[in-house]
Protein backbone atom coordinates (compact mmCIF):
# COMPACT_ATOMS: atom_id res chain seq x y z
CA UNK A 1 0.00 0.00 0.00
CA UNK A 2 1.36 3.37 -0.97
CA UNK A 3 0.62 6.60 0.87
CA UNK A 4 0.23 9.98 -0.79
CA UNK A 5 3.09 10.57 -3.15
CA UNK A 6 5.32 13.58 -3.01
CA UNK A 7 6.69 15.02 -6.20
CA UNK A 8 9.86 13.78 -7.80
CA UNK A 9 11.25 17.23 -8.54
CA UNK A 10 15.02 17.50 -8.45
CA UNK A 11 15.92 20.33 -6.08
CA UNK A 12 19.36 20.74 -7.59
CA UNK A 13 17.77 21.94 -10.81
CA UNK A 14 14.48 23.48 -9.70
CA UNK A 15 14.90 24.92 -6.21
CA UNK A 16 18.59 25.67 -6.13
CA UNK A 17 18.76 27.49 -9.44
CA UNK A 18 22.06 28.96 -10.47
CA UNK A 19 20.95 32.48 -9.53
CA UNK A 20 20.03 31.38 -6.01
CA UNK A 21 23.22 29.43 -5.42
CA UNK A 22 25.34 32.28 -6.77
CA UNK A 23 23.68 34.91 -4.61
CA UNK A 24 23.93 32.69 -1.55
CA UNK A 25 27.62 32.18 -2.19
CA UNK A 26 28.46 35.77 -3.14
CA UNK A 27 25.66 38.23 -2.31
CA UNK A 28 25.58 41.58 -4.14
CA UNK A 29 23.82 43.54 -1.42
CA UNK A 30 25.42 42.20 1.75
CA UNK A 31 26.36 44.56 4.55
CA UNK A 32 25.02 47.15 6.94
CA UNK A 33 24.30 50.76 5.93
CA UNK A 34 25.79 53.30 8.30
CA UNK A 35 24.12 55.65 8.73
CA UNK A 36 20.72 54.23 7.86
CA UNK A 37 17.18 55.61 7.95
CA UNK A 38 15.77 52.37 9.25
CA UNK A 39 16.90 48.95 10.32
CA UNK A 40 15.36 45.78 11.68
CA UNK A 41 16.12 42.14 12.34
CA UNK A 42 14.16 39.04 11.52
CA UNK A 43 14.67 35.82 13.47
CA UNK A 44 13.56 32.31 12.77
CA UNK A 45 13.81 30.47 16.09
CA UNK A 46 13.16 27.16 14.33
CA UNK A 47 16.52 27.18 12.58
CA UNK A 48 18.44 30.01 14.20
CA UNK A 49 18.49 32.09 11.03
CA UNK A 50 18.78 35.84 11.40
CA UNK A 51 18.54 38.64 8.86
CA UNK A 52 19.44 42.23 9.58
CA UNK A 53 18.14 44.73 7.01
CA UNK A 54 19.08 48.41 6.81
CA UNK A 55 17.58 50.94 4.42
CA UNK A 56 18.43 54.44 3.27
CA UNK A 57 15.59 56.43 1.76
CA UNK A 58 15.67 58.81 -1.17
CA UNK A 59 14.03 62.25 -1.35
CA UNK A 60 10.81 60.65 -2.62
CA UNK A 61 10.60 58.35 0.41
CA UNK A 62 11.51 55.33 -1.67
CA UNK A 63 14.36 52.95 -0.97
CA UNK A 64 17.58 54.44 -2.25
CA UNK A 65 19.71 51.62 -0.88
CA UNK A 66 19.14 48.48 1.09
CA UNK A 67 21.62 46.05 2.59
CA UNK A 68 21.24 42.78 4.46
CA UNK A 69 23.41 40.86 6.85
CA UNK A 70 22.20 37.27 6.78
CA UNK A 71 23.13 34.30 8.89
CA UNK A 72 21.10 31.62 7.25
CA UNK A 73 20.58 29.02 4.59
CA UNK A 74 21.05 29.46 0.86
CA UNK A 75 17.36 30.21 0.32
CA UNK A 76 17.29 32.86 3.05
CA UNK A 77 20.52 34.53 1.95
CA UNK A 78 19.62 34.58 -1.74
CA UNK A 79 16.14 35.86 -0.94
CA UNK A 80 17.55 38.69 1.16
CA UNK A 81 19.96 39.61 -1.59
CA UNK A 82 17.47 39.53 -4.46
CA UNK A 83 14.97 41.40 -2.29
CA UNK A 84 17.46 44.17 -1.53
CA UNK A 85 18.15 44.55 -5.23
CA UNK A 86 14.49 44.36 -6.26
CA UNK A 87 13.19 47.05 -3.91
CA UNK A 88 15.66 49.77 -4.85
CA UNK A 89 13.74 52.79 -6.11
CA UNK A 90 10.41 51.51 -4.76
CA UNK A 91 8.22 53.27 -2.23
CA UNK A 92 6.55 51.41 0.60
CA UNK A 93 3.21 50.64 -1.12
CA UNK A 94 5.05 49.19 -4.11
CA UNK A 95 7.24 47.11 -1.80
CA UNK A 96 4.20 45.81 0.09
CA UNK A 97 2.57 44.93 -3.22
CA UNK A 98 5.70 43.17 -4.45
CA UNK A 99 5.95 41.16 -1.23
CA UNK A 100 2.29 40.21 -1.52
CA UNK A 101 2.79 38.91 -5.06
CA UNK A 102 6.02 37.17 -4.03
CA UNK A 103 4.19 35.50 -1.14
CA UNK A 104 1.34 34.43 -3.44
CA UNK A 105 3.83 32.86 -5.83
CA UNK A 106 5.52 30.98 -2.98
CA UNK A 107 2.16 29.55 -1.98
CA UNK A 108 0.88 28.68 -5.43
CA UNK A 109 3.98 28.26 -7.53
CA UNK A 110 1.93 29.65 -10.38
CA UNK A 111 4.05 31.21 -13.03
CA UNK A 112 1.15 33.36 -14.25
CA UNK A 113 1.61 35.57 -11.22
CA UNK A 114 5.34 35.90 -11.58
CA UNK A 115 5.58 38.11 -14.67
CA UNK A 116 6.24 41.25 -12.71
CA UNK A 117 8.44 39.62 -10.12
CA UNK A 118 11.64 39.82 -12.12
CA UNK A 119 14.54 38.08 -10.40
CA UNK A 120 12.29 36.96 -7.56
CA UNK A 121 10.65 34.45 -9.92
CA UNK A 122 13.73 32.29 -9.25
CA UNK A 123 11.94 31.12 -6.07
CA UNK A 124 8.92 29.81 -7.95
CA UNK A 125 9.49 26.15 -7.10
CA UNK A 126 9.72 26.85 -3.38
CA UNK A 127 6.01 26.11 -3.12
CA UNK A 128 6.93 22.44 -3.40
CA UNK A 129 9.10 22.80 -0.29
CA UNK A 130 6.56 24.09 2.17
CA UNK A 131 8.77 23.93 5.24
CA UNK A 132 11.24 26.25 3.50
CA UNK A 133 8.89 29.10 2.52
CA UNK A 134 9.66 30.88 5.76
CA UNK A 135 13.33 30.97 4.74
CA UNK A 136 12.43 33.18 1.76
CA UNK A 137 9.96 35.45 3.56
CA UNK A 138 12.08 36.16 6.65
CA UNK A 139 14.10 38.96 4.96
CA UNK A 140 10.89 40.63 3.80
CA UNK A 141 9.44 40.84 7.28
CA UNK A 142 12.70 42.46 8.41
CA UNK A 143 12.59 44.89 5.47
CA UNK A 144 9.02 45.96 6.22
CA UNK A 145 9.97 46.51 9.87
CA UNK A 146 12.96 48.56 8.74
CA UNK A 147 10.67 50.64 6.49
CA UNK A 148 8.28 51.19 9.38
CA UNK A 149 11.11 52.37 11.54
CA UNK A 150 12.29 54.73 8.83
CA UNK A 151 8.77 56.15 8.47
CA UNK A 152 7.86 56.08 12.15
CA UNK A 153 7.78 58.88 14.71
CA UNK A 154 11.23 60.09 15.60
CA UNK A 155 12.50 58.58 12.39
CA UNK A 156 15.51 59.96 10.72
CA UNK A 157 18.94 58.88 9.77
CA UNK A 158 20.86 57.26 12.54
CA UNK A 159 24.01 55.33 13.06
CA UNK A 160 23.10 51.72 13.67
Amino acid sequence: MQGPQATTADPMSDLYQQLIVERARAPHRAGVLEPADGGAEGDNPFCGDRVQVTVRLGADGGVAESRHRTRGCAICTASADLMAESVEGLQRPAIASLYERFGAMLQSGESGTTDSLGLLAAFRSLHEYRSRIRCATLPWTALLDAMSEAAGPGSGRKDT
Binding site: A6, M12, P45, C47, G48, D49, C73
Partner: protein, 418 residues
Protein backbone atom coordinates in the same frame (compact mmCIF):
# COMPACT_ATOMS: atom_id res chain seq x y z
CA UNK B 1 -6.80 -10.37 22.90
CA UNK B 2 -4.17 -12.76 21.69
CA UNK B 3 -0.64 -12.64 22.97
CA UNK B 4 1.35 -11.11 20.18
CA UNK B 5 4.27 -12.76 18.54
CA UNK B 6 6.94 -10.31 19.50
CA UNK B 7 9.24 -10.48 16.53
CA UNK B 8 8.66 -11.71 13.01
CA UNK B 9 10.71 -14.63 11.80
CA UNK B 10 13.36 -13.82 9.25
CA UNK B 11 12.49 -13.76 5.57
CA UNK B 12 14.62 -16.16 3.56
CA UNK B 13 17.81 -14.44 2.54
CA UNK B 14 17.61 -11.82 5.23
CA UNK B 15 19.22 -12.17 8.60
CA UNK B 16 19.14 -10.45 11.94
CA UNK B 17 18.13 -6.82 12.03
CA UNK B 18 17.64 -6.60 8.26
CA UNK B 19 14.75 -9.05 8.60
CA UNK B 20 13.11 -6.93 11.30
CA UNK B 21 12.49 -4.20 8.73
CA UNK B 22 9.54 -6.27 7.56
CA UNK B 23 7.87 -5.53 10.87
CA UNK B 24 7.74 -1.80 10.05
CA UNK B 25 5.16 -1.28 7.30
CA UNK B 26 6.06 2.37 6.72
CA UNK B 27 9.58 1.46 5.59
CA UNK B 28 8.18 0.24 2.29
CA UNK B 29 6.91 3.72 1.43
CA UNK B 30 8.64 5.85 -1.15
CA UNK B 31 9.28 9.58 -0.81
CA UNK B 32 9.82 11.72 -3.90
CA UNK B 33 9.98 8.50 -5.88
CA UNK B 34 12.83 7.13 -3.75
CA UNK B 35 12.73 4.45 -1.06
CA UNK B 36 12.32 6.05 2.36
CA UNK B 37 15.61 6.23 4.27
CA UNK B 38 14.48 7.25 7.73
CA UNK B 39 17.36 8.68 9.75
CA UNK B 40 15.27 10.73 12.19
CA UNK B 41 14.39 8.13 14.80
CA UNK B 42 15.71 10.29 17.65
CA UNK B 43 12.83 12.69 16.94
CA UNK B 44 10.32 9.87 16.82
CA UNK B 45 10.73 6.24 15.82
CA UNK B 46 8.65 4.25 13.37
CA UNK B 47 6.22 1.66 14.70
CA UNK B 48 6.27 -2.10 14.16
CA UNK B 49 3.09 -3.89 13.13
CA UNK B 50 3.00 -5.46 16.60
CA UNK B 51 2.38 -2.00 18.11
CA UNK B 52 -0.06 -0.95 15.42
CA UNK B 53 -2.01 -4.20 15.79
CA UNK B 54 -2.08 -4.05 19.58
CA UNK B 55 -3.65 -0.60 19.47
CA UNK B 56 -6.00 -1.44 16.64
CA UNK B 57 -7.05 -4.73 18.30
CA UNK B 58 -7.80 -2.86 21.50
CA UNK B 59 -10.18 -0.54 19.72
CA UNK B 60 -11.69 -3.32 17.64
CA UNK B 61 -12.15 -6.01 20.25
CA UNK B 62 -11.50 -5.02 23.82
CA UNK B 63 -11.98 -1.46 24.95
CA UNK B 64 -13.65 0.47 27.77
CA UNK B 65 -12.58 2.99 30.36
CA UNK B 66 -10.26 1.68 33.06
CA UNK B 67 -10.57 1.53 36.88
CA UNK B 68 -14.31 2.23 36.73
CA UNK B 69 -16.57 -0.25 35.11
CA UNK B 70 -17.87 -3.35 36.79
CA UNK B 71 -18.38 -4.88 33.39
CA UNK B 72 -16.28 -7.35 31.48
CA UNK B 73 -14.87 -4.93 28.92
CA UNK B 74 -13.68 -2.49 31.57
CA UNK B 75 -12.12 -5.21 33.68
CA UNK B 76 -10.23 -6.69 30.74
CA UNK B 77 -9.05 -3.26 29.54
CA UNK B 78 -7.94 -2.39 33.07
CA UNK B 79 -5.94 -5.63 33.15
CA UNK B 80 -4.27 -4.76 29.84
CA UNK B 81 -3.54 -1.19 30.91
CA UNK B 82 -2.21 -2.17 34.33
CA UNK B 83 -0.23 -4.98 32.74
CA UNK B 84 1.80 -2.36 30.92
CA UNK B 85 2.77 -0.88 34.28
CA UNK B 86 4.35 -4.24 35.12
CA UNK B 87 6.15 -4.29 31.78
CA UNK B 88 7.57 -0.81 32.35
CA UNK B 89 8.65 -1.78 35.86
CA UNK B 90 10.53 -4.76 34.41
CA UNK B 91 12.01 -2.61 31.61
CA UNK B 92 13.52 -0.22 34.16
CA UNK B 93 14.06 -2.85 36.87
CA UNK B 94 11.99 -0.69 39.20
CA UNK B 95 11.53 -2.17 42.69
CA UNK B 96 7.75 -1.70 42.55
CA UNK B 97 5.09 -1.36 39.86
CA UNK B 98 3.45 1.33 41.98
CA UNK B 99 6.42 3.57 41.24
CA UNK B 100 5.54 3.70 37.52
CA UNK B 101 3.46 6.76 36.67
CA UNK B 102 2.05 7.20 33.19
CA UNK B 103 2.32 10.68 31.72
CA UNK B 104 1.78 12.20 28.29
CA UNK B 105 5.48 12.09 27.36
CA UNK B 106 8.87 12.98 28.86
CA UNK B 107 7.90 16.64 28.92
CA UNK B 108 4.78 15.76 30.92
CA UNK B 109 6.85 13.68 33.33
CA UNK B 110 9.39 16.45 33.93
CA UNK B 111 6.65 19.03 34.41
CA UNK B 112 5.00 16.74 36.95
CA UNK B 113 8.30 16.40 38.77
CA UNK B 114 9.06 20.14 38.63
CA UNK B 115 5.65 20.83 40.11
CA UNK B 116 5.34 18.08 42.68
CA UNK B 117 8.93 17.35 43.70
CA UNK B 118 9.57 21.07 43.24
CA UNK B 119 6.96 21.71 45.95
CA UNK B 120 9.10 19.77 48.43
CA UNK B 121 12.11 22.03 47.84
CA UNK B 122 12.63 25.07 50.06
CA UNK B 123 13.25 28.60 48.78
CA UNK B 124 16.99 29.01 48.26
CA UNK B 125 17.57 25.40 47.32
CA UNK B 126 18.91 24.67 43.84
CA UNK B 127 18.20 22.41 40.88
CA UNK B 128 21.19 21.51 38.71
CA UNK B 129 20.78 20.78 35.00
CA UNK B 130 23.43 20.67 32.25
CA UNK B 131 24.25 22.56 29.08
CA UNK B 132 23.15 19.64 26.92
CA UNK B 133 19.55 19.38 28.00
CA UNK B 134 16.55 19.31 25.71
CA UNK B 135 14.29 22.34 26.20
CA UNK B 136 11.90 20.03 28.03
CA UNK B 137 14.48 19.60 30.79
CA UNK B 138 15.22 23.32 30.99
CA UNK B 139 11.96 25.23 30.81
CA UNK B 140 10.02 23.41 33.59
CA UNK B 141 12.89 24.15 35.99
CA UNK B 142 13.01 27.80 34.92
CA UNK B 143 9.29 27.99 35.66
CA UNK B 144 9.93 26.43 39.10
CA UNK B 145 12.78 28.89 39.70
CA UNK B 146 10.56 31.87 38.92
CA UNK B 147 7.60 30.59 40.91
CA UNK B 148 9.31 29.18 44.00
CA UNK B 149 12.61 30.99 44.42
CA UNK B 150 14.65 27.95 43.48
CA UNK B 151 18.08 28.58 42.02
CA UNK B 152 18.79 26.99 38.64
CA UNK B 153 22.39 25.93 38.10
CA UNK B 154 23.85 24.71 34.82
CA UNK B 155 26.72 22.22 34.65
CA UNK B 156 29.09 22.74 31.75
CA UNK B 157 29.74 20.41 28.85
CA UNK B 158 33.32 19.80 27.71
CA UNK B 159 34.50 20.40 24.14
CA UNK B 160 34.24 16.66 23.60
CA UNK B 161 30.55 16.91 24.39
CA UNK B 162 30.70 15.21 27.78
CA UNK B 163 29.28 16.36 31.06
CA UNK B 164 31.97 18.26 33.01
CA UNK B 165 31.87 16.27 36.26
CA UNK B 166 34.33 18.58 38.00
CA UNK B 167 32.06 21.51 37.35
CA UNK B 168 29.05 19.49 38.47
CA UNK B 169 30.87 18.74 41.73
CA UNK B 170 31.55 22.47 42.18
CA UNK B 171 27.87 23.26 41.70
CA UNK B 172 26.95 20.68 44.34
CA UNK B 173 29.65 21.64 46.84
CA UNK B 174 27.57 24.02 48.98
CA UNK B 175 24.99 21.31 49.64
CA UNK B 176 22.08 23.52 48.54
CA UNK B 177 21.13 21.48 45.50
CA UNK B 178 18.02 19.41 46.05
CA UNK B 179 17.99 17.81 42.63
CA UNK B 180 20.28 17.07 39.71
CA UNK B 181 18.20 16.69 36.52
CA UNK B 182 20.28 15.67 33.52
CA UNK B 183 20.01 13.70 30.33
CA UNK B 184 21.03 10.04 30.23
CA UNK B 185 21.82 10.44 26.51
CA UNK B 186 22.02 13.68 24.55
CA UNK B 187 19.53 14.07 21.71
CA UNK B 188 22.06 16.23 19.87
CA UNK B 189 25.48 14.71 20.52
CA UNK B 190 24.58 11.12 21.28
CA UNK B 191 26.67 11.38 24.47
CA UNK B 192 25.73 8.82 27.10
CA UNK B 193 26.26 10.35 30.52
CA UNK B 194 27.90 8.40 33.38
CA UNK B 195 24.65 8.08 35.28
CA UNK B 196 25.87 5.93 38.17
CA UNK B 197 28.78 8.32 38.79
CA UNK B 198 26.45 11.31 38.69
CA UNK B 199 24.17 9.57 41.20
CA UNK B 200 27.09 9.04 43.61
CA UNK B 201 28.11 12.68 43.24
CA UNK B 202 24.57 13.98 43.73
CA UNK B 203 23.87 11.77 46.75
CA UNK B 204 27.19 12.65 48.37
CA UNK B 205 26.00 16.27 48.41
CA UNK B 206 22.47 15.56 49.53
CA UNK B 207 20.79 15.95 46.13
CA UNK B 208 18.43 13.56 44.34
CA UNK B 209 18.97 12.55 40.71
CA UNK B 210 16.51 12.63 37.82
CA UNK B 211 17.64 11.14 34.53
CA UNK B 212 15.97 12.11 31.25
CA UNK B 213 16.04 8.76 29.48
CA UNK B 214 14.11 9.80 26.36
CA UNK B 215 17.00 8.71 24.13
CA UNK B 216 18.85 6.30 26.40
CA UNK B 217 15.96 3.92 27.01
CA UNK B 218 15.82 3.18 23.28
CA UNK B 219 19.43 2.14 23.07
CA UNK B 220 20.44 0.67 26.43
CA UNK B 221 19.20 -1.65 29.09
CA UNK B 222 18.24 0.70 31.91
CA UNK B 223 18.39 -0.49 35.52
CA UNK B 224 17.31 2.32 37.81
CA UNK B 225 18.47 0.38 40.89
CA UNK B 226 21.95 -0.27 39.49
CA UNK B 227 22.19 3.39 38.43
CA UNK B 228 20.93 4.39 41.89
CA UNK B 229 18.75 7.07 40.28
CA UNK B 230 15.84 8.65 42.17
CA UNK B 231 13.67 9.54 39.18
CA UNK B 232 13.74 8.37 35.56
CA UNK B 233 11.61 9.65 32.68
CA UNK B 234 11.10 8.50 29.12
CA UNK B 235 8.58 8.70 26.30
CA UNK B 236 6.89 5.95 24.32
CA UNK B 237 7.12 7.32 20.81
CA UNK B 238 10.90 7.16 20.61
CA UNK B 239 10.81 3.53 21.81
CA UNK B 240 8.84 2.38 18.73
CA UNK B 241 5.61 2.98 20.63
CA UNK B 242 2.87 5.55 20.03
CA UNK B 243 2.95 9.24 20.89
CA UNK B 244 0.89 10.42 23.85
CA UNK B 245 2.31 8.08 26.49
CA UNK B 246 5.34 8.62 28.69
CA UNK B 247 6.64 7.42 32.03
CA UNK B 248 7.87 8.87 35.28
CA UNK B 249 9.54 6.40 37.63
CA UNK B 250 10.32 7.58 41.14
CA UNK B 251 11.27 6.03 44.45
CA UNK B 252 8.23 5.32 46.61
CA UNK B 253 9.80 7.21 49.53
CA UNK B 254 10.00 10.35 47.40
CA UNK B 255 6.71 10.00 45.51
CA UNK B 256 4.89 9.70 48.83
CA UNK B 257 6.14 13.10 49.98
CA UNK B 258 5.03 14.81 46.76
CA UNK B 259 1.68 16.59 46.35
CA UNK B 260 -0.39 15.66 43.28
CA UNK B 261 0.12 17.54 40.02
CA UNK B 262 -3.22 17.45 38.20
CA UNK B 263 -6.46 17.01 40.07
CA UNK B 264 -9.46 15.07 38.83
CA UNK B 265 -10.91 11.61 38.56
CA UNK B 266 -8.81 8.53 39.24
CA UNK B 267 -6.35 10.36 41.53
CA UNK B 268 -8.57 10.54 44.62
CA UNK B 269 -9.91 8.13 47.19
CA UNK B 270 -12.78 10.30 48.49
CA UNK B 271 -14.12 13.68 47.42
CA UNK B 272 -16.35 16.08 49.27
CA UNK B 273 -16.72 19.82 48.81
CA UNK B 274 -14.71 20.33 51.98
CA UNK B 275 -11.77 18.17 51.08
CA UNK B 276 -10.52 15.32 48.95
CA UNK B 277 -8.19 12.50 49.87
CA UNK B 278 -5.57 11.38 47.45
CA UNK B 279 -5.43 7.93 45.99
CA UNK B 280 -2.49 5.65 46.66
CA UNK B 281 0.49 5.50 44.32
CA UNK B 282 0.64 5.50 41.37
CA UNK B 283 -2.91 6.75 40.75
CA UNK B 284 -2.36 9.89 42.82
CA UNK B 285 -0.39 11.23 39.86
CA UNK B 286 -2.70 10.02 37.07
CA UNK B 287 -5.73 12.29 36.97
CA UNK B 288 -8.46 11.68 34.44
CA UNK B 289 -8.92 8.93 31.88
CA UNK B 290 -5.38 7.93 30.93
CA UNK B 291 -3.99 7.24 27.47
CA UNK B 292 -5.33 3.68 27.55
CA UNK B 293 -4.76 2.72 23.92
CA UNK B 294 -1.37 4.39 23.83
CA UNK B 295 -0.30 2.61 27.03
CA UNK B 296 -1.24 -0.72 25.47
CA UNK B 297 0.78 0.27 22.39
CA UNK B 298 3.73 1.06 24.65
CA UNK B 299 3.39 -2.37 26.22
CA UNK B 300 3.61 -3.96 22.77
CA UNK B 301 6.69 -1.85 21.97
CA UNK B 302 8.39 -2.97 25.18
CA UNK B 303 7.60 -6.61 24.34
CA UNK B 304 9.07 -6.02 20.91
CA UNK B 305 12.42 -4.56 21.98
CA UNK B 306 12.79 -7.00 24.85
CA UNK B 307 12.28 -9.94 22.50
CA UNK B 308 15.21 -8.63 20.45
CA UNK B 309 17.19 -7.90 23.60
CA UNK B 310 19.12 -4.80 24.55
CA UNK B 311 22.50 -6.51 24.17
CA UNK B 312 21.73 -7.12 20.51
CA UNK B 313 20.20 -3.64 20.07
CA UNK B 314 23.23 -1.96 21.60
CA UNK B 315 25.71 -3.99 19.56
CA UNK B 316 23.78 -3.26 16.35
CA UNK B 317 23.71 0.44 17.13
CA UNK B 318 27.41 0.56 18.02
CA UNK B 319 28.18 -1.10 14.68
CA UNK B 320 26.01 1.39 12.76
CA UNK B 321 27.43 4.36 14.65
CA UNK B 322 31.05 3.37 14.04
CA UNK B 323 30.29 2.86 10.36
CA UNK B 324 28.49 6.21 10.11
CA UNK B 325 31.24 8.14 11.90
CA UNK B 326 33.85 6.66 9.57
CA UNK B 327 31.83 7.42 6.44
CA UNK B 328 30.79 10.93 7.49
CA UNK B 329 34.18 12.04 8.75
CA UNK B 330 35.70 11.08 5.41
CA UNK B 331 33.64 13.85 3.76
CA UNK B 332 35.68 17.01 3.20
CA UNK B 333 34.45 19.91 5.31
CA UNK B 334 32.08 17.79 7.39
CA UNK B 335 32.36 18.32 11.12
CA UNK B 336 30.78 15.93 13.61
CA UNK B 337 29.78 17.65 16.85
CA UNK B 338 31.07 16.04 20.02
CA UNK B 339 33.21 12.97 20.35
CA UNK B 340 32.23 11.49 23.66
CA UNK B 341 33.85 8.17 24.54
CA UNK B 342 30.46 6.67 25.33
CA UNK B 343 27.96 7.59 22.64
CA UNK B 344 24.89 6.26 20.89
CA UNK B 345 23.48 6.41 17.38
CA UNK B 346 22.73 10.11 17.17
CA UNK B 347 25.16 12.15 15.07
CA UNK B 348 24.95 15.91 14.58
CA UNK B 349 27.12 17.52 11.96
CA UNK B 350 27.79 20.63 9.95
CA UNK B 351 29.08 20.86 6.40
CA UNK B 352 31.23 23.72 5.20
CA UNK B 353 29.37 26.16 2.92
CA UNK B 354 26.09 24.28 3.29
CA UNK B 355 23.42 25.27 5.79
CA UNK B 356 21.69 22.46 7.70
CA UNK B 357 18.32 23.28 6.12
CA UNK B 358 19.72 23.18 2.61
CA UNK B 359 21.34 19.84 3.45
CA UNK B 360 18.06 18.50 4.82
CA UNK B 361 16.08 19.61 1.76
CA UNK B 362 18.51 18.02 -0.67
CA UNK B 363 18.63 14.80 1.35
CA UNK B 364 14.84 14.75 1.58
CA UNK B 365 14.48 14.86 -2.17
CA UNK B 366 16.59 11.74 -2.23
CA UNK B 367 14.21 10.07 0.20
CA UNK B 368 16.54 10.58 3.18
CA UNK B 369 14.92 12.05 6.30
CA UNK B 370 17.21 13.82 8.77
CA UNK B 371 16.56 16.51 11.35
CA UNK B 372 17.93 20.01 10.87
CA UNK B 373 17.82 22.96 13.19
CA UNK B 374 18.54 23.49 16.86
CA UNK B 375 17.06 20.16 18.02
CA UNK B 376 15.15 21.81 20.87
CA UNK B 377 18.50 22.50 22.52
CA UNK B 378 19.28 26.16 21.83
CA UNK B 379 21.64 26.60 24.79
CA UNK B 380 23.75 23.65 23.64
CA UNK B 381 23.89 25.08 20.11
CA UNK B 382 25.17 28.33 21.59
CA UNK B 383 27.74 26.45 23.69
CA UNK B 384 28.99 24.65 20.57
CA UNK B 385 29.05 27.88 18.57
CA UNK B 386 26.65 26.76 15.86
CA UNK B 387 23.21 28.02 14.84
CA UNK B 388 21.89 24.79 13.54
CA UNK B 389 23.11 21.35 12.62
CA UNK B 390 21.91 18.42 10.60
CA UNK B 391 21.35 15.26 12.60
CA UNK B 392 21.20 11.64 11.51
CA UNK B 393 19.85 9.21 14.09
CA UNK B 394 19.42 5.49 13.86
CA UNK B 395 16.77 2.99 14.77
CA UNK B 396 16.89 -0.78 14.97
CA UNK B 397 15.76 -0.85 11.31
CA UNK B 398 18.63 1.31 10.05
CA UNK B 399 21.07 -0.41 7.68
CA UNK B 400 24.66 0.28 6.69
CA UNK B 401 23.44 0.58 3.11
CA UNK B 402 21.25 3.51 4.20
CA UNK B 403 24.20 5.14 5.92
CA UNK B 404 26.27 4.69 2.76
CA UNK B 405 23.50 6.37 0.79
CA UNK B 406 23.53 9.25 3.27
CA UNK B 407 27.30 9.64 2.88
CA UNK B 408 27.13 9.47 -0.93
CA UNK B 409 24.35 12.04 -1.08
CA UNK B 410 26.16 14.34 1.35
CA UNK B 411 29.17 14.19 -0.94
CA UNK B 412 26.93 15.43 -3.79
CA UNK B 413 25.59 18.19 -1.54
CA UNK B 414 29.14 19.21 -0.66
CA UNK B 415 30.15 19.45 -4.32
CA UNK B 416 26.96 21.36 -5.15
CA UNK B 417 27.59 24.08 -2.56
CA UNK B 418 31.40 24.09 -2.80
Amino acid sequence: MNEMSAVTLARPGLTGFEALRDDFPILSQTVHGKPLVFLDSAASAMKPAQVIDAMSDTMRTQYANVHRGLHWMSERTTDAYEGVRDKVARLLNAPSRDEIIFTQNSTGAINLLAHSFGATLARGQAVVISEMEHHSNIVPWQMLRDRAGIELRVARVTDAGELDLDHLAELLADGRAGLVAVTHMSNVLGTVTPAAGIARLAHAHGAKLMLDGSQAVVHRAVDVQALDADFYVFTGHKLYGPSGIGVLWGRTSLLETMPPFLGGGDMISTVSFEESRWAELPHRFEAGTPAIIEAIGLGAAIDYVQAIGFDALQAHEADLTAHALARLQAIEGLQVLGHAADRGGVISFTLENAHAHDIATLLDRNGIAVRAGNHCAEPLMRRLGVNSTARASFGLYTTKREIDLLAETLEQVRVFFA
